[in-house]
Amino acid sequence: MTTTSIERVSSGPAGIKLVARIALYLVLGLIGLFFLMPLLWMFSTAFKPFVETLQPTWIPQEPTLENFTNIFNDTSIPVLRWFLNSLGVAVAFTMLVVLLDSLAAYAYARMVFPGRDLLFGLLLATLVMPGIMFVVPNYITIARIGWLNTYQGVIAPGLSGVFGVFFLRQFFQSIPRELEEAAYIDGATVWTTFFRVSLPLARGAIATLAIITFLTSWNDFLWPLLILNDRNLQTLPVGLATIQGQYTFDYGKLMAGAVVTAAPVLILYIFLQRFIIQNVAMTGLKG
C-alpha cells in the first residue's frame, strides 16, 4: 500500500512533494511511536518470566503465559471475577442507560406536557456542574440505603446522567414526523409507535450512545473505588489499582492484569475505531 502511495506522489508535479511527504510520514511515525511503545511494553512485560522483566528487552527471550495463569489462579487477586464484574456492570449499566434515556428523550423531543420546559431546563443546568459536587452526598445516600459493596450502588447514580437524554432528544427531533403519524393513522398507540417506529429509526444514535456508555462504564475508576471494598465485587480498574501496591516489583503480573483490563476495549476499539472517533468528535463538539 505504501509503495503505491509513494508512486502516486512521485507522479506529482515536483520531487519536493515527495520529500515533504516522506518528512510528514517520518514525523507522524515518530509521534506514533510515542503512543504505540507504552502499549507494546505492556504486552512485552506481560509475556516475560519474572527474571526477564527488569531487562530492557522488547521481545521476551522465553515468552511465557505464567503471569496470566498466576493471576487467574491466585485467589487473593480474582482477576477472572473482576473481569466478569466489569462486564456485568458495564452491560447492565449500558442497557439501563439506553432504555431510560431513550424513553425520556422521546418525551422531551416529541410530546407537549406541562412542566416539560422547566424539567428540561433543570437537566440542562446540571450539565455545567462539576461532578465532584455530587460524590460525597451520593456516597452518603448509597450508604444509607445499604448499597455499599453492591453492583446497584455502582450503577444507580450514573443512571441520573443527562448526556444520553440530550443526545437522543436531538436525534428524535430529526426524525420526520410523518413516519410516526402514519403509525397513528393505522391505530398504533404511543407505546407501539415508540417501540416499533421511532426506536428502530434511532438505532444508529442508540448504538453510539451504547458504545460510549459501555466504554465509560468499563473504564470508570473513582466511583467504583469508593463503593466497592469487597475484593470479590470489584471491577477490573479498581482491582488492578489495589493489587499494584501488592506487586510493586512483580510488574509481569501487573502488566498481565493491565492486558486483561485493556484487551476488551482495545478489541472493541480496533473494530469500531472510525465510528468511535467520528462520534466522539461530534458529541464532543456538541457537549
Partner: protein, 314 residues
C-alpha cells in the same frame, strides 16, 4: 402550541372507549424512570451536599452531628495553617502545578497533531486511530503502565542511564513526578482533544486557504490568520474542558505516586477530598471542599468563555 401527535392519539383512544378527555399521563410515564434517578442522584445531592457542608458530619457517628454553619468554609479560607486545612491548600497548590504542566501541551500539541492529520494522504486514519487509542483505556491501565515505565530500573530509567545521565527517582522527587504524571496524562487523553480539533479543521473551507495562497501567504501565515481565528470557539471549548479535566486529576497521581503523594507534593484536590470525606469520614468539610472546587471551576469556565470567547469582537 400544537397538540403533539402522541397526545392526539391518546385522546383518540380515550373517545373511542367512551371516556371524556382527561389529563394525559403518558409523557410523564416516559420521563419518569430517568427522572427518578435524576432526582435522587443529581437534584437531591445538589442541595444535600450544601446541607451537610453546614454540619460537622461524620457518617459513622450519627449521634454527634452538630450544626456549624459556615465554619467548614471559614476554616477552608481562613484557617489555612491547621493541619487539616493546610493539606487542602497544599492540594490546591499541587493541582495548580498540574494545570500549568498539563493544560498548555494538551491544547497546543493537540492542535498541532490535528493540523498534521488534516491532510489528504494515505494511512491518515491509521495514525489518527493510533493517537486516539489510549483514550479508550481506563485511567488505571494508563497510570499502572506509566508507573512501570518510570519505575527505578524501568524502561525510561534504563535508557536515561545509558545516555550517561544520573539515575533519578522519577516518581519520588519533583519536578520529575509531575513530568511523569503529565506525560501519562498527555499519552492517555491528547487524542480526544486532537479529534475535536481535527473535526473543526475539516469544517474550514479549502477555498480560504487557496485564496490566501494566491495572495502569497505562506503556511505559517495561513495558520495564524485563517486557522487560529476560525478555530477560536473550539480553542476556548477545548481549553475549558481540558482545564476542568486537569483540575479533576485523581487516578494518575493516586496510582503513580500512591501513598507518597502528600510527601512528594502530587496529592490533588480530588485525592484530598477522597481522603477527607471517605477515608477519614469528615464529610461535612469534604462537602465544603467539593463545593469550593466546583464554584472555582464554574467561575474559571465562565471567565474563559467571556474573556477568550469575546475578545475577537473587541
Amino acid at each position: 402550541m400544537a397538540t403533539s401527535q402522541p397526545a392526539r392519539a391518546q385522546s383518540a383512544v380515550a373517545t373511542n372507549t367512551g371516556l371524556r378527555r382527561r389529563f394525559n399521563w403518558t409523557p410523564y410515564l416516559f420521563i419518569l424512570p430517568h427522572l427518578i434517578f435524576f432526582s435522587a442522584f443529581l437534584a437531591y445531592p445538589f442541595f444535600y451536599g450544601i446541607y451537610i457542608s453546614l454540619f460537622d458530619f461524620d457518617f459513622l457517628r450519627p449521634e454527634y452531628r452538630p450544626f456549624v454553619g459556615l465554619k467548614n468554609y471559614a476554616n477552608l479560607l481562613f484557617n489555612r495553617d491547621s493541619i487539616q486545612f493546610s493539606d487542602f491548600w497544599h492540594a490546591v497548590g499541587n493541582t495548580g502545578w498540574f494545570l500549568i504542566y498539563s493544560v498548555p501541551p494538551l491544547v497546543i500539541l493537540a492542535l498541532l497533531l490535528a493540523v498534521l492529520l488534516n491532510g489528504k494522504y494515505p494511512a491518515r486514519n491509521l495514525f489518527r486511530g493510533l493517537y486516539f487509542a489510549p483514550y479508550a483505556l481506563s485511567v488505571t491501565v494508563a497510570a499502572v503502565l506509566w508507573r512501570w515505565l518510570f519505575e527505578q530500573g524501568g524502561l525510561i530509567d534504563t535508557y536515561w542511564q545509558r545516555l550517561g545521565l544520573q539515575s533519578v527517582s522519577w516518581l519520588g522527587t519533583q519536578p520529575w513526578a509531575w513530568i511523569a504524571i503529565t506525560l501519562c496524562t498527555i499519552w492517555w487523553t491528547i487524542g480526544f482533544n486532537t479529534v475535536i480539533f481535527l473535526a473543526a479543521l475539516q469544517d474550514i473551507p479549502d477555498s480560504l486557504y487557496e485564496a490566501a495562497a494566491i495572495d502569497g501567504a505562506g503556511t505559517f501565515q495561513q495558520f495564524s490568520y485563517i486557522t487560529i481565528p476560525l478555530l477560536r470557539p473550539v480553542l476556548v471549548f477545548v481549553s475549558t474542558i481540558t482545564l476542568i479535566a486537569s483540575a479533576n486529576l485523581f487516578g494518575q497521581s493516586y496510582i503513580m505516586t500512591g501513598t507518597q503523594s502528600r510527601v512528594i507534593g502530587t496529592e490533588s484536590i480530588i485525592q484530598r477530598i477522597y481522603d477527607e470525606g471517605i477515608a477519614q469520614n469528615r464529610m461535612g468539610s469534604a462537602a465544603a471542599m467539593s463545593i469550593f472546587l466546583a464554584a472555582v471551576l464554574l467561575i474559571l469556565t465562565t471567565l474563559n468563555f467571556r474573556v477568550f470567547g469575546r475578545s475577537e469582537q473587541q
